[in-house]
Symmetry: D2
Subunit: 347 residues, 4 copies
């Protein structure tokens, strides 16, 4: 009998992307996985046809209210809900249900960080869903609860980890991540209008104010044991999807572009969703759109005394929904890459 | 043993999209279909890694020169070549090879049309690859040669056919198709630069000068037997992919929005890649990006005495590569929808 | 002593564009014109610095509440308010004040049209601010009240008038206007988010439902005396500013591209803000951005039996604020072109 | 009698922007300044109407060949030519002609830098056209030769100078500049096509390879006397115009956001084209489009131990043509701000 999967917050961008991936998942195509309840709040009662016309296969499905009752009885539940709300719902789901939370509620280990950046009570922490981090794949495999990472932390962590773990640079990072607008979600706001975002660039939540800052720091500290300092500056750019991250850090002596490149290649040997590009290439966001890939390049800037790492991800796929499906595959013991595109919709 | 497929002109946008689709095709994933020679001209000798970094699964593959020798020995050959060149290559391929030409060489039946619009000698015509046109699916199934349709003709034909075939409007069409820039291909030209195309709109090849005009007329005449007149105006808009087509035509008496909508729904009943949207919805190109879908809406404008039909396709998928793969599936006797996404990468 | 000008609804896109133009107006630069009250509703109390950082010259100015009292005592008042609200405010302003209403309240002559399209009571009609229409310049010069035209009607009227007035085509027009997103204003709405509008195209308010339809019809009837039928289809495209209008209409016998082009050139001889482009050129919206220009081309499509006219305007300049300033100049007896750019910010 | 001005390289983006500004310059409008020869190479012989339809006021002007003869006899000559070519032409112009070179030939003081980054012989150096740098206004006023700065160096220098000059941060800068595509000029290249640049982000000329790197270092060394290190990473983003620069540098002890902000405000007190935004605001490129402004913000990131400075300019205006006109005004003893917009075409 088929496993059933529910998506809470199905009508937002993360929820929609989870559904897009599930519809192409071999387990769905073969009948092993059935798409169950799709829930939302203000959109409850409407049909997918009017809310997500990009998913005609589900056109006739009605959106239910996000309640524990409607989510009950599924083998897998994806939560794509505002922070605070995930924790509340998750608490009421059976222990044996595989719950993948795309929100922030269970990402941070440190309560102080949580309170400083999110304000409300800390719900705790779950195994963190970047399987490419040391030791995480095993944790995810054993767990029925996964905290899916934030989009910026995914691109930044995958780019920075080898640089620190392999001793290529000092743990004092300047990170600038240029992002498409879908990262801000599907909520009406004047500063996210097409008129305000097309043809314009702006930094926001600068100087440590962005909530993904402590998550990046936590990942790098856990992944390397070092006392890492991070300056994080997100920049909003006129494209729907994609994050290009640039990281500079003081170069360690004796590191060359070639040795750094080799260290990165070795670090990610065997990883299917991280591509350390051939020397000379640079990650470009259009080459990861719709995929679960992270493209990475590393270089040495001798004159400036800096290591430069760049990475590109699709914020909605590897940055959210793709990571969630990857973790689901791991937790269910399926092929990790099942249903996760690596070939991007470009141009 | 696996069937092998070659792609000539693999490094252009159409060729790249064919490869993206093949990499997700169940026959490729199961080993029934193998990707053989990838050929090009000026790019021959380079690797996919540098030419198409959106396809990391093929990164190490080298691009060969486009020659009959390099294409020989494959069961399926996709041609994504400039017009004139397809015909020359096709002539030298074995009869039993399934050849799908994404170029224009074999689309037009009438030599006069060909000479007027393309200038050189007419190569003849092959079964035309819009399976949703009356009688075409059967022709394609029996043929080893398929002329894959142009992008504009696909969106226009699917939108106009039911209007004419069901007698909803006079065969005197005003068609305006707004298109993304990838339709112009991957060739350097000042007027296609980002600076010239972002933030701007312009009509081009107006007043019957666009080469897709006779192809649209031919499809509608063949599909309805009527003496059709078409005014076709393409408009270039700042997006990579997508064609939104609007068609107005003099309304036949007694036709209402409701009766027109029902006629369209009936006409496309059973078609998996045409979605006549629920009344009130309008096709939006982002909802078909990366898919083989055509979304359609039809309405009556009483005051103006016009029928209005709108359609959205992805010019590179249903408009080119998706149609090619769909035709391949039909010609090989496979599931017609295999490997063809219906869920769009939106937003 | 300087004349003073107030702008009601100053923080919206139309209001901001009026201010941009006034700041570059020779009368402002020479001290003959002073910028007085800037008013709004929800934004009242805030400074220009935070609301319109594109206008640093006014950074320290505070926004007042939109009330007749705050607008009183100015020589010129621009109203950039929601429909219904303009009329209410206008009624309370002194007769001798020059009032330019950028809203719809006083555009339509026919009460039936008004009620059908806007729903509430008809406020009446004022001289209509397209000075290039026959006889309008004189009316505007004598009036202290001007109804500034809608953006779509401006592009469509200027393109269609000569075609009908010179007998080049039948008065049965199919108009498709592709528009940037700023036309929808600066109000939060999910379907106007960057994520929903970038990378996508969609028609909206189709089949006669758009409120600018009766305004276009009215202009063409008044300007030609003919019984005009108009099918109007607006299409939303991913750019901030610009409207590209395409018009097809049944061709009158004996009309050639050359004779049509000459008729258009003659019709607009002496007009500074209409450029009938040299034969072979096509209007492109980036070439009018920030200007008060309308670029036009006309062609004959023999095979289709259609006349094709295309035009480009900036919806916020010639389409709204530029027209308003042009009308102010006329009504004040100033040089009509004062402060109105013709050189576009391109690319 | 009017001064005459010639523009060499008039049909490129920099040349076109110079013309746009001149057409709105009060000296042009009053007849004091006449636009003389417009020259180019491959476009010579064509009319402005077909090459730059955004400048209808010059539509009938023909483009001449770029030769010393055609440029001779003008009081002011703007050079917007490829590097190497400027020097060759400049050498042949009379000493008393005011020559403003928008190319790189005379920007760098150090021959070694020149050879390393540009490869050919060093032509020497001219007074450098950022009037806001200490002592430069006076040099420009006395000179008949001005090296107009590069676009990236303008945004980076204006942002970094106060941080270093006021001792707010260590002279060890990580600069990431996100730029629109017009900075790459109007030359056909596949990687600058709309298809390749819309919807995508990529870093390029990374790790010290960009030619603007030594220019930034030179400016900061000259402006502060410090031994400055600069890591510079340009990122290409999907918009026509605009550069958003983010700079991080190790924070000096005792510096707060408030004290840094005050230092910046003091540093630029009296400068008309630099706007240190009110605390809390962030520069946004759309708010400088078409203007000669640089918007700046500065903040302290305590946790990261970094100073963060952000700036926005229009690469074609303050970044090139606006700076050129500003320098012309200074060198001619005119009002420095004449003809230079501060109100941006936004949205």
């Amino acid at each position: 009998m088929a496993l059933t999967v529910a998506v809470a917050g199905a009508t937002g961008y993360a929820g929609g992307e989870i559904l897009r991936l599930l519809l192409g998942h071999p387990a769905y195509l073969s009948g092993e996985l059935a798409i169950g309840a799709l829930t939302a709040n203000s959109n409850a009662g409407q049909k997918v046809a009017s809310l997500m016309p990009n998913l005609p296969a589900l056109a006739e499905r009605a959106i239910l209210k996000t309640t524990p009752e409607n989510l009950d009885g599924h083998d897998v539940v994806f939560l794509a809900l505002p922070h605070g709300y995930s924790a509340e719902i998750a608490r009421q789901l059976p222990e044996e249900t595989l719950v993948l939370d795309c929100g922030a509620d269970f990402r941070l280990v440190d309560s102080g960080d949580w309170v400083k950046y999110y304000g409300n009570d800390h719900a705790g922490h779950w195994p963190y869903g970047i399987p490419e981090m040391p030791g995480r794949r095993e944790l995810i495999a054993r767990s029925r609860r996964v905290a899916v990472p934030g989009c910026f932390p995914t691109g930044a962590t995958l780019a920075a980890l080898p640089a620190l773990a392999c001793g290529l640079a000092e743990p004092d990072l300047s990170i600038v991540s240029v992002t498409g607008v879908s990262g801000a979600g599907k909520k009406a706001a004047v500063n996210l209008l097409g008129s305000e975002t097309m043809g314009s660039l702006r930094a926001y939540n600068t100087a440590g104010k962005h909530r993904h800052t402590p998550e990046i720091v936590q990942n790098l500290k856990q992944g390397t044991g070092l006392d890492v300092r991070v300056s994080f500056t997100p920049v909003l750019a006129p494209l729907p999807r994609g994050i290009l991250t640039t990281i500079t850090a003081p170069l360690r002596e004796g590191v060359s572009t070639q040795s750094a490149h080799e260290a990165f290649c070795d670090y990610y040997a065997g990883e299917q969703f991280v591509w350390v590009m051939p020397a000379g290439g640079q990650p470009q966001t259009q080459n990861v759109v719709g995929t679960n890939m992270c493209h990475i390049q590393v270089e040495v800037d001798e004159d400036a005394g800096k290591l430069l790492v760049t990475s590109a991800i699709d914020n909605l796929t590897k940055g959210t929904a793709g990571a969630a499906v990857q973790c689901m595959n791991i937790a269910l013991g399926w092929t990790e890459a099942a249903g996760l595109p690596t070939a991007a919709v470009a141009p």
